[in-house]
């Protein structure tokens, strides 16, 4: 090969490489961050959350909603605060991302000071600790928090079902602690009695001893505040150890694992109400495309993290139209200016503290990979 040809080829290669780098830079004009547990015993949630956000990114890019396209950068939080902080620091300091989707109460509380200090929007669609409502203007929740969910569930269980003796088994972390505090107030207020409370370590997997202790307390209903593989193991062992009482929990029971677990059949859980028959194109497209891709109904977490991405796209469009820089501060101002947003199955307005109000649906696991609506509490 003569030198001229070689020079041309190298130049061509360099140009192609430069083009590809430029293209990458352009495509990364809009980057979203996410702190999901992609490994460890809660990795199932990461899979669920990312399926919702990735579908939304696909829709945003298909519709060319944002110039240059939208990319999603997921950091593995392992559902642990320390790993969450590491991931958040990377997203904010290295990648300069102004909008981060977060999950899990402990992780969210740990990253909140970083977001507040750097003016980064943090949006939570999975954690439900009530104090997530108090993490400042840059922390938004698009999932009802545990106090709202329990406020719907406890009166139904205690008054309507007449199950007055309650036991709580809760994971020893900020989520579990907050559910304990809520139930300590709500159960007596509704005429019931919290006859036992059992805290379990985050890593615990053996619960036959706790089952034996719970049995001696003769509860009518067992509330569970855990998540991931642990809550499935807990439910299985409670049932295997002869406890056939009503089980009740929060959104965490909506995962495919819990829906497919035979021992969880009959368990009650709460989640925000989604009107699948809302009739708008966004809702229809979301359900059609999700079911086509995954061959099952999306859980509420999928809906939330889809909505979180679509919310960013709407806010970023607004900021672009205003000719402003894409910063957390301007995204917050855009949210406050727009006011109301079309989400999958609902229209939402944010409260002053960054939470959204939504009707709560009480559902029952059917034991055959699904759940059925029991009632809706406004």
């Amino acid at each position: 090969m003569d030198m001229t040809k070689l020079t041309f080829r190298i130049s061509g290669l360099a140009l192609a490489l430069a083009g590809s780098i430029a293209g990458t830079a352009f495509a990364q004009d809009h980057s979203l961050g996410a702190l999901y547990p992609m490994s460890g015993s809660n990795a199932e949630y990461g899979q669920i959350f990312s399926s919702g956000s990735e579908l939304a990114v696909r829709h945003v890019n298909e519709d060319a909603m944002l110039p240059g396209g939208l990319t999603l950068q997921i950091e593995d939080s392992q559902a642990l605060p320390a790993q969450g902080v590491t991931g958040m620091n990377k997203l904010v300091s290295v990648d300069q991302i102004p909008y981060v989707m977060t999950s899990f109460t402990g992780v969210s509380k740990a990253i909140a000071p970083i977001g507040a200090e750097t003016g980064t929007v943090m949006i939570n669609g999975g954690g439900v600790g009530p104090d997530l409502a108090e993490l400042g203007p840059y922390f938004w929740n698009i999932i009802p928090l545990a106090n709202d969910e329990m406020r719907a569930l406890v009166p139904y269980v205690v008054n309507e079902l007449g199950l007055q003796r309650a036991v709580l088994i809760y994971v020893d972390d900020p989520l579990g602690q907050s559910v304990l505090e809520v139930l300590e107030d709500l159960v007596p207020q509704n005429g019931g009695e919290l006859v036992g409370e059992h805290s379990i370590p985050v890593t615990a997997q053996q619960f036959s001893g706790i089952a034996a202790t719970v049995r001696t307390q003769r509860p009518d209903v067992i509330f569970i505040a855990s998540y991931g593989a642990q809550q499935a193991a807990l439910v299985k062992q409670l049932r295997d150890n002869g406890l056939d009482q009503q089980l009740a929990s929060y959104t965490s029971f909506s995962t495919p694992t819990m829906q497919e677990l035979p021992e969880a059949a009959g368990a009650l859980f709460t989640q925000q109400y989604i009107d699948r028959e809302k009739g708008d194109a966004l809702t229809q497209r979301f359900f059609d495309d999700y079911i086509a891709e995954y061959d099952r109904d999306p859980s509420i977490y999928v809906v939330n993290y889809y909505n979180a991405v679509m919310l960013y796209a709407n806010l970023a469009q607004y900021v672009d139209e205003q000719g402003q820089e894409l910063t957390g501060e301007n995204l917050l101002a855009a949210r406050q200016a727009i006011g109301s947003f079309e989400f999958v199955g609902s229209t939402v307005t944010f409260n002053e503290n960054g939470t959204v109000q939504a009707p709560i649906e009480i559902r029952r696991l059917t034991g055959n990979s699904g759940s059925e609506a029991v009632t809706i509490v406004e």
Binding site: S39, A43, E44, Q205, Q206, A212, T213, G242, T257, P262
Partner: protein, 290 residues
């Protein structure tokens, strides 16, 4: 009655811990390889059993056989392809540890990719407790666990004391150079240790899938329990691992009588610390270092 109930529940947990720790203790005691990937062998056996019974719908004994094959292939394969090469290059203990730890992470991710990251379990009447006498619930799995542990530990005791392979394995633990002088191949004996150690984890993996369920990340927890039971029992002592596993399982459960449920796991490590301080060689360990 609660004490008796907790004692029985603790016994079942203890059997699971004992069987889990036995393979780890055997491998570490005989070969001095810190086989952190024992947890990965456990995960592979658990998922193989679950796949064959729950997905393929085949009988439990076919699944047990399949799980055993999968565990042996992984355990022996890891020894041949990773540990032996590292040992040949005379790399440090930590190189082996990092390689083993890496294997756990790789297995966790591969299992997650194939089966998802959720929880799996096999439902069988064996795990359903029945009320034997008022207030006392016992699952048949307790008796199965005790019987399986007795058979496996009995067989291992016979193997180690009455067979040429057992003598060779014990000799390997004592002095690998002397084994070579006698014309035996330490590599071949180590391979057999890995095969047997991997087989030992299979009943524990099956009991776990039936009794509590499993997930791809369970391997780390298994290694922690194995390590604690092996140290308390005395490194390399199968009877020590068995007694320590049962001791930890029963203590964890009985602790519910005196401390809150969030402290039960800490009890295992309290026992470990007590032994490290009072009797560092463990229950049946010998007080000398290699």
């Amino acid at each position: 009655m609660l004490i008796l109930q907790l004692l029985l529940n603790g016994l079942q947990t203890g059997m699971l811990y004992a069987l889990t720790a036995a393979g780890f203790s055997l491998i570490f005691g005989m070969t001095r390889i810190f086989h952190a990937a024992h947890g990965a062998t456990f995960v592979i056996a658990a998922y193989a059993y679950w796949h064959i019974t729950s997905l393929a719908g085949l009988p439990w004994w076919v699944a047990a056989l399949g799980a055993t094959m999968a565990a042996v292939i992984f355990g022996a394969g890891l020894y041949l392809t990773v540990y032996r090469r590292i040992q040949r290059s005379e790399a440090s203990f930590f190189t082996v540890f990092i390689a083993a730890f890496g294997a756990v992470v790789v297995v966790q991710n591969v299992i997650s990719m194939i089966y998802g990251r959720g929880f799996v379990s096999s439902s069988t009447p064996l795990s359903r407790a029945k009320e034997l006498i008022p207030g006392l619930y016992v699952a048949p799995l307790i008796w199965v666990s005790v019987a399986v542990a007795a058979v496996f530990f009995g067989a291992m005791a016979l193997l180690l004391k009455r067979t040429r392979l057992g003598v060779a394995m014990r000799a390997l633990a004592d002095n690998p150079e002397l084994v070579r002088v006698y014309g035996l191949d330490p590599g071949r004996i180590s391979l057999m240790v890995f095969v047997i150690g991997s087989i030992l984890v299979v009943p524990a993996a099956i009991i776990q899938v039936i009794a509590t369920g499993a997930n791809p990340a369970v391997g780390h927890h298994i290694v922690m329990i194995s390590l604690a039971a092996s140290i308390v029992g005395g490194i390399g002592s199968l009877s020590g691992a068995a007694i320590a596993g049962i001791l930890i399982g029963v203590a964890e459960t009985l602790a519910l009588l005196v401390v809150g449920s969030q402290w039960t796991e800490a009890v295992s490590f309290l026992i470990l610390f007590v032994f490290i301080i009072v009797r560092p060689a463990g229950i049946f360990g010998r007080a000398h270092a290699h």
